[in-house]
């Protein structure tokens, strides 16, 4: 099938039309001016021209006329924001297959296109990339993060702030891995870094483990005894964590850092879930540095939270209900 050429000076219109048709399976080129379009037509045969009537310099009809001199059977569709009977008549005289006033229905346009060019031979073949994670080759669609790719093959990279329903946040840094490209190695956050062809990933190398251990100990000082920290602590053999079990405050001072508990690791799952999934923003962060904390905003929370509380279930520390209890107490006053 021959490609389509869009000739449109308005960038937003041109780009969105091109994206939309490309997604529909067509091969699409574009030009912002008449002269540019004519140059493209010189170089390549097109199956269809979609032309804006008003263009700087050579107008749409003129472009079609000149294109026909080269390729007599070339079809054209005119789109215009300034429809008039006269221009419509002129267009038909030039033999355009249709004349669409803006704004037009994209489905209507696609119908016209498929009538002209025939149905698209749909071939869904998303581009894939291949990398090696812990000596195992894995092929994933382009745009997959290292974390997702690793999970695909059953490698569990630790993380406390990742959630499949939420945009990557990159805050806990536990998911850092080492990547190697040629001679160079680098530490990256696997929940954000996208897999590239030929990438070599080490998820448990020495520098990675060293970072995770310290991060766990730092978080332990804030939320001692929290289950995911206990689990990861045992996985990485941090002395002081595994023996403390579930006791929330119990003698957790054996790690490197003095315990100053806030019972929250500030992973932001609740805050982001409320904003991104529920669209409510009933809970948020205030303060910065170690003063940062999660709070329910009473104005919103008192209305929205009673029947939701979905964030309680995703809180890794289990501290959220007590934060919320404060709002309820306030509200009942």
């Amino acid at each position: 099938m021959k490609p389509i050429l869009i000739v449109e000076d308005e960038a937003i219109m041109r780009e969105s039309l091109q994206d939309w048709l490309t997604d529909g399976g067509y091969e699409v080129e574009s030009a912002s001016q008449g002269d540019e379009a004519l140059k493209a037509i010189e170089e390549q045969d097109f199956g269809l021209l979609i032309l804006d009537l008003r263009l700087p310099g050579t107008d749409g009809l003129e472009v079609l006329r000149k294109a026909r001199e080269r390729q007599p059977k070339l079809n054209g569709i005119i789109i215009t924001a300034y429809p008039s009977v006269q221009t419509a008549v002129d267009a038909m005289k030039e033999g355009v297959i249709d004349y669409l006033p803006k704004p037009f229905d994209l489905n209507e346009l696609e119908k016209l296109i498929s009538q002209t060019l025939g149905p698209v031979q749909v071939e869904i073949r998303p581009k894939t990339v291949t990398c090696v994670i812990d000596d195992r080759e894995v092929e994933v669609p382009q745009g997959t993060t290292i974390l997702e790719a690793a999970r695909n093959i059953g490698i569990d990279i630790p993380t406390l702030c990742h959630h499949e329903k939420l945009a990557p946040y990159g805050a806990c840094r536990l998911c850092m891995v080492e990547i190697i490209r040629g001679q160079r190695s680098r530490l990256v956050t696997s929940c954000v870094y996208l897999v590239e062809d030929g990438l070599v990933v080490k998820t448990e190398s020495e520098p990675v483990v060293k970072i995770r251990k310290m991060l766990l100990e730092l978080m332990w000082a804030r939320a001692p005894g929290v289950q995911p920290l206990v689990n990861y602590g045992m996985r990485y053999g941090i002395s002081g964590l595994e023996t403390q079990g579930n006791s929330v405050l119990g003698g957790a001072s054996k790690t490197k850092f003095e315990v100053e508990p806030t019972f929250c690791i500030l992973c932001g799952l609740c805050v982001r879930y409320c904003a991104e999934v529920k669209g409510k923003n009933a809970i948020g962060f205030i303060g910065r540095g170690t003063e940062r904390e999660v709070v329910f905003f009473p104005e919103i929370a008192s209305k929205e939270c009673a029947n939701c509380k979905e964030c309680f279930a995703i809180c890794p520390t289990g501290a959220l209900p007590s934060h919320y209890a404060l709002v309820e107490t306030d509200a009942s006053k």
Partner: protein, 636 residues
Amino acid sequence: MGRLNSAAELEKLREEILTKRDPNKPCVTICSGTGCHAYGSEKVAEAFVENIKSNGLQDKVDIRRTGCHGFCEKGTLVVIFPEEICYLRVRPDDIPEIVSTTLIEKKVVDRLLYEDDDGQKITHESEIPFYKHQSRMIFGNNRLIDPTNIEDYIALGGYAALSKALSEMTPEGVMEEVKEANLRGRGGGGFPAGVKWETTRDAPGERKYVIVNADEGDPGAYMDRSLLEGNPHSVLEGLIIGAYAIGSHEGYIYVRQEYPLAVENLNIALKQARELGLLGSDILGSGFNFDVKIHRGAGAFVSGESSALMTAIEGRVGEPRPKYIRTAVSGVWDRPSNLNNVETWANVPLIINNGARWFADIGTEGSKGTKIFSLVGKVKNTGLVEVPMGMTLREVIYDIGGGIPGGKKFKAVQTGGPSGGVIPEKFLDLPVDFDELTKVGSMMGSGGMIVMDEDTCMVDVARYFINFLAGESCGKCVPCREGIHQMLKVLNRICEGESGDEDLELLDEIPEVLGDAALCALGQTACNPVLSTLRYFRDEYEAHIMKRQCPAGVCKALINYYIEPEKCQACMICLRNCPVGAIDGGKNLIHTIDQEKCTKCGTCLEVCPTRFGAVIVLSGVEVPEPVPQGTEVARG
């Protein structure tokens, strides 16, 4: 003034301005930058207006309130043209004398002149050593311009570079010129500006942004502030030229909340530029459209980080993004966004006017042009200095800065702000440029330069910066939020004499993890103050930890004040001044300090006459038993 529709019309306006100005007419310029403003420059300016009027000279003398001249140590600064007579530390009371002596009798007021170490008076500004050794390409016009009057900028050749770029050069040509000049970013990293511009221009998407980073936040640094306040058009002109090269039609100037005068002067500058058709649609009749908005920050240091700054422009909390994609490709609203610092933009008109080759002739192999430094700390002449890249630290600190006051010894200089590091005496002859500073473990940063003398404790310095960063960490990622907090606790323990060997280990471990794991540059470089002080002054850390000794005598928990009995003259001064009554003694009786009562405020040391020098600081040693009360002074 009407809209200018071509390069020729701009030139015509320039000629008109110059024709109506008499270069021989006396002009009193009063520095009204932040430093002088704090000294009361506004009162000085008012006094000039009043006195000139009462002497009937209002038509014969111009008065101009300018931006910062740089020699902030000696404010309020007044320079009288055309002779360029420079008066320092001018107070409102001095004005009648200046008017009658200098403006009427045409004589110099000696007592307000600069006096060098040999007592020699210097009349002209450019001959004062502080100014003489500088090359003020960017900053020099500050003293000649009233920032609220675009005519002053145009009179000095302003907007000629923009006019040249739009009428004689293609966007690609402008880009090539900046690349060839090898202009590197003045805000911190020193990334080549032209390369960044090209990335933005080539990134997909029609809408692109150009942004001025005026979120200057390093302790003691105020060069960007002074430039924006004093010469806003130079930054704006650079920005418009950059936008033309990149193909951007929208810009932002991100100014921190704490700079109200910069915002005020910028707003005036934007308005005047729009009225003249130097900003807005169809600039100078070229068909190029560009406009700019001012975005005021909300007072967070981290907002100077590019991705955090862009998040803030979008109207959200200024926290860095975790993405592995450069803001030049995907920045504000995921559109290509080119961010450069104030000083970087101000360099652009110079490059376009004079050419890349001219620019590249100044400086060193890898660092071209000049750099403005904020020279502060234990140095005689504090202020803003602009020097060619490659000048040595010694020249900056001694020739321009006048050396260390009070006969003290130089110990180190801290460059690059909180992410930078300290440089010890052995590197005083180091040429200052991006690469050389990095080699010795510091960085150029935005140009902060804090001089430290022998009385500075390097552990305390590290603690100061870590404390600053602990307060400025946004708290999003664990290593920065918790790591800096723990680092500060370690340093507090060391300074308070409560540290153990494990603290020395943590000093190595925490920075390593922070450098690798923090989300943004603030966290990644947060430990540099510790790393560089450890690198050159490890012995001081060890003295604190192992000997409970603060060699510089700064850390209160590790020092004691002591009166040497053989030197005490029993003059009663320290005894009377001690705020807690911790000094015993009397007339002719040797004074002693009651260590139990002493709060280590240091007053006794300060007030003890230098000719006696009886009060000393002890650290790491036992305080000798005091002489028995009632021991009389033995006078020889």
